[in-house]
Symmetry: C2
Subunit: 208 residues, 2 copies
DNA sequence: TGTACATCAGTGAACGCGCGTTCACTGATGTAC
DNA sequence: TGTACATCAGTGAACGCGCGTTCACTGATGTAC
């Protein structure tokens, strides 16, 4: 099932749905080469269009990357929320489920995960980007605060946010980045899997 | 006092000590533009030499960056160890002191911190790089395990490493990266300072 | 002490490369009448 | 239904750019005798 475009739904002209094709090509390119290896020309090549075509839909490279990041935040939020719901009502179980979902998302989509925090490559003025970023954080914060998924949307980091939310975020974020940067390679076979369980088991449950 | 070059001490010919000058120029360039903004030509420009000069001392760009990363790990280890010693013998105090030192290093030297974990830009075959990276981890692990600073050098991540070391590392590493990526900007004024204390206070002490 | 020579740090021009973006354009699609 | 026209997605060549690295070289330094 094709996802609907978040803003003005582009009609199919020559290509069919170039906007969508460019986003998907970006996702696979990011997966293969990371944010550092991303180029607009390569994306165009993979989508089978000329290097000038993307400008029509996204303005420039930053615009395309921002669209990809927005979608990535949406997927992260969906995964966090699904894990939360599946974990039941126990606060620690919810927290652990979300922590595991966060790390698994990062490991499954390393390129997109890198992009989401590569602020220099994104359009910081984009309101939708902020909205989706805040939504992902809100999902985590909800479990930390023991609020139900049904109790409204929550909001992004603020001065009122309980510190535990930052603790949980830092922990899973740091674990994910270290794992992606290969820092656990010497910690034995299946180190990431084993450590993930231990870290979440030892730490996340105690923190809050 | 000029630091002595880690390998074959380069004599002063035309420049004086180009090897050292290139490393220092790299450090300030990294500070200004991050790893993404690093170029060999710009470093040469800043050191006042031709673009071909660095090759003589470091082979290629990767070689120079690796030398810079090695030095950065040395500085991190020195900071962690100093904080550890200053914290006395209480295990939680030591852990907290090292955690704070880790984050402060990252905030003070964002470009070098980014470089240390930008594995794609470094020479993964370089033994000294691994040695210094392991040494930094070993400092952290020592406090987690409650071993004294005097009890030998320790070693890098392995299958025998207590999980708490990975927990502590993930926590401070994640906090540092999120802070550097501007993710705490909306958490109020002085958010990073306040959160740093809260995160270390709430979490690090409980984890082990 | 003086001279001839070897070493090698650093030069500067050139290499080929791929990049993001621009621009005038083409031609398929959709629409007004 | 048919025709003329407007729209605009996508083309492809060209722009200027800065990059890392190479190469034959220069000339200061150090050294052997």
């Amino acid at each position: 099932m094709p996802r609907s475009a978040p803003e003005s739904s582009t009609r199919a002209y020559h290509h069919g749905d170039l906007r969508e094709a460019l986003i998907e090509a970006s996702e696979t390119l990011l997966a293969e080469r990371g944010v550092e290896g991303f180029t607009l020309r390569e994306v165009a090549r993979r989508a089978g269009v000329s290097p000038a075509a993307p400008a029509h839909h996204f303005g420039d490279a930053r615009g395309l990357l921002t669209a990809v990041a927005i979608r990535a935040f949406e997927e992260l939020t969906a995964r966090l929320t699904a894990a939360d719901v599946a974990a039941g009502s126990d606060r620690r179980a919810r927290l652990r489920a979300q922590g595991e979902a966060y790390v698994r998302f990062a490991l499954a989509r390393p390129g997109q995960f890198g992009l989401m925090f590569a602020v220099g490559r994104l359009d910081g003025e984009n309101a939708e980007l902020h909205r989706q970023g805040d939504a992902a954080f809100a999902a985590l914060e909800r479990a930390v605060s023991g609020r139900s998924v049904d109790e409204g949307p929550g909001c992004g980091p603020s001065a009122d946010t309980p510190p535990g939310a930052f603790v949980a975020w830092s922990l899973v974020h740091g674990f994910a980045r270290l794992a992606l940067d290969g820092q656990f390679h010497n910690a034995g076979p299946d180190a990431v899997e084993i450590l993930l369980r231990e870290v979440l088991g030892q730490a996340l449950e105690r923190i809050v």
